[in-house]
């Protein structure tokens, strides 16, 4: 079998298996669907009714806004703080135990605190999402900055590269593979915390919709919400991979060439 046919075959399998699985569920639920597992055709119909595009403004948009603010804010703060901590041993030692403690708190445990102090609005949800997203990016940034090759630092010093040039063109790019690894981890956490925070003390959002549908026994609607969350997670990951491939193209190239 040539490499080409082999690749085509693999691609075919990759596409065919999910389709077969969906078809199987479709057929199974169509004939023997129960109250909790409504026919897939019905779930799809509810999905179209709900998400194309009736509730986009009322539920999808607020959810996306929360995750964007929480995740974006966390990444900015984590990279800034991580760069500072990664460059200073003293700062790292001083903050080490605090960081370890804070990141050990299961974030949903902070929701009651958030409700009391920040309120039930968007700010609380953004805070919870940001809190959970902060740690993976922070720890990876610290690691990345700390691990910068001494030769590279010497190079920057000998050639007088300092300040903004040093930060943006030497330090951050050198740490970027690890920063991205942290950002990727945080992205899936962000989606989880978005849903959880919307299930507690909320009046809109996709997570709110899923819980509300379940409470009003609109099981097909509930499934349509779960389906949407799955799709969102998938799309987020895909978009992230596209960005990462572009930004870290040099890293893949350099690694491939060093492995020979």
């Amino acid at each position: 079998m040539s490499a080409r046919t082999r690749r085509l075959l693999e691609l075919a399998v990759e596409i065919a298996v999910p389709i077969a699985l969906v078809a199987l569920i479709w057929v199974y639920t169509d004939t023997s669907g129960t109250f909790y597992y409504p026919p897939l055709s019905e779930v799809f119909a509810r999905f179209a009714d709900t998400w194309l595009f009736e509730r986009v403004g009322s539920d999808v948009w607020p959810s996306l806004r929360r995750i964007a603010l929480g995740y974006g804010g966390a990444v900015i703060v984590a990279v800034a703080v991580g760069t500072a901590l990664g460059s200073s041993r003293t700062l790292r030692r001083a903050t080490g135990p605090i960081v370890e403690f804070l990141r050990s708190i299961p974030p949903p445990a902070l929701i009651p605190f958030g409700i009391v102090v920040i309120g039930v609005g968007d700010d609380m949800k953004v805070f919870i999402i940001a809190f959970v997203c902060l740690w993976p990016v922070l720890l990876n940034t610290i690691d990345g900055i700390q691990g910068i090759d001494p030769t590279l630092k010497d190079t920057a010093r000998v050639f007088g590269i300092s300040g903004k040039d040093r930060l943006l063109r030497v330090t951050l790019p050198a740490a970027s593979p690890q920063i991205f690894a942290g950002m990727r981890l945080s992205l899936s956490l962000a989606l989880i915390l978005m849903v959880i925070s919307e299930m507690v003390a909320s009046t809109n959002g996709i997570g709110f919709f899923v819980l509300q549908s379940q409470r009003s026994f609109a099981i097909a609607e509930m499934w349509s919400g779960i389906l949407l969350l799955g799709i969102l997670g998938y799309v987020f990951n895909l978009a992230f991979m596209v960005v990462e491939r572009r930004v870290l193209a040099w890293h893949r190239g350099a690694r491939a060439s060093s492995l020979g």
């Binding site: 000998v158 590269i161 063109r169």
Partner: protein, 265 residues
């Protein structure tokens, strides 16, 4: 122009202290090509780091044109042995050579000209937009040399720059560095452990002892220039110098090993 006097470097303190460099003194005159050779592990890299201001010497000083070096002086550039770790893989050849010029307050056309000239001088004109990892080892080291040239240093320090390339490429790079020296009118301090290389390249050779490093001997190389890989190395003086340096380093080597002790057990 550059004076190293009584330079010493000790790592650590008390009984566990390592005396990397004992006492090193020598001078470099304008436009001179000086090679520093010594047995492996004799603290050559430490010496170079002290000279470039990357390391604070424990004793003595380095004086550049009457000014004591404190921190990395802008008149110096350094070519590292490990090009793959000193070039920035996220920048193209152009980006790498350009980066040190950004803070020099040159106008755009001027720095673009410096970059192109330097890249041309090392024979990589067609590769400006490639990335370092797309190039062979020898070509990457040429990029590192171009970066140093574009920076327009008065002194170029080189730390075993050709130690990680194959012999053929090494010869080419040796000739290249002699060419660019004439073109850019620089003083070069070249650290190597390769005796042939030191004789072939230099005006003077500083031979070091093993750690704690001291200067064993400084010798003049009066081989005619331009040098040639075949003709220069055929000359009796080349052979003579080579043998002399070789003996100096051998004699300076560590004491003959004690008879091996067989462990009971």
């Amino acid at each position: 122009m550059l004076e190293v006097s009584g330079l010493g470097k000790t790592y650590g303190e008390g009984e566990t202290a390592t005396h990397a460099i004992g006492d090193v003194s020598f001078e470099l005159s304008e436009r001179e090509f000086v090679c520093v050779v010594g047995p492996s592990g004799c603290g050559k890299t430490t010496l170079l780091k002290c000279m470039s201001g990357l390391l604070e010497p424990s004793r003595g000083q380095v004086v550049l044109r009457g000014r004591r070096i404190d921190g990395t002086p802008p008149e110096m550039a350094l070519v590292f042995q490990d090009y793959s770790r000193s070039l920035l893989p996220w920048l193209s050849v152009r980006g790498n050579v350009m980066l040190p010029l950004r803070h020099k307050k040159l106008d755009k056309a001027e720095s673009a000209r410096l970059v192109e000239e330097a890249v041309e001088a090392v024979g990589l004109s067609g590769f400006l937009d490639r990335y370092p990892w797309q190039l062979s080892g020898g070509m990457q080291q040429r990029v590192a040399i171009a970066r140093a040239l574009a920076y327009q240093p008065e002194i170029l320090l080189m730390d075993e720059p050709f130690a990680s390339v194959d012999a053929q490429t090494r010869g080419d790079l040796e000739d290249l560095i002699l060419q660019v020296r004439d073109r850019y009118d620089m003083t070069i301090l070249f650290v190597t452990h390769d005796i042939d290389e030191s004789v072939y390249l230099s005006d003077r050779i500083v031979v070091l002892t093993p750690s704690p490093t001291e200067v064993r001997e400084i010798l003049d190389v009066s081989l005619p220039r331009p040098r040639d890989q075949v003709e220069t190395k055929e000359q009796p003086e080349f052979a003579h110098l080579r043998a002399h340096v070789y003996r100096l380093i051998k004699r300076a080597g560590p004491k003959p090993a004690e008879p091996a002790q067989t462990q009971a057990g």
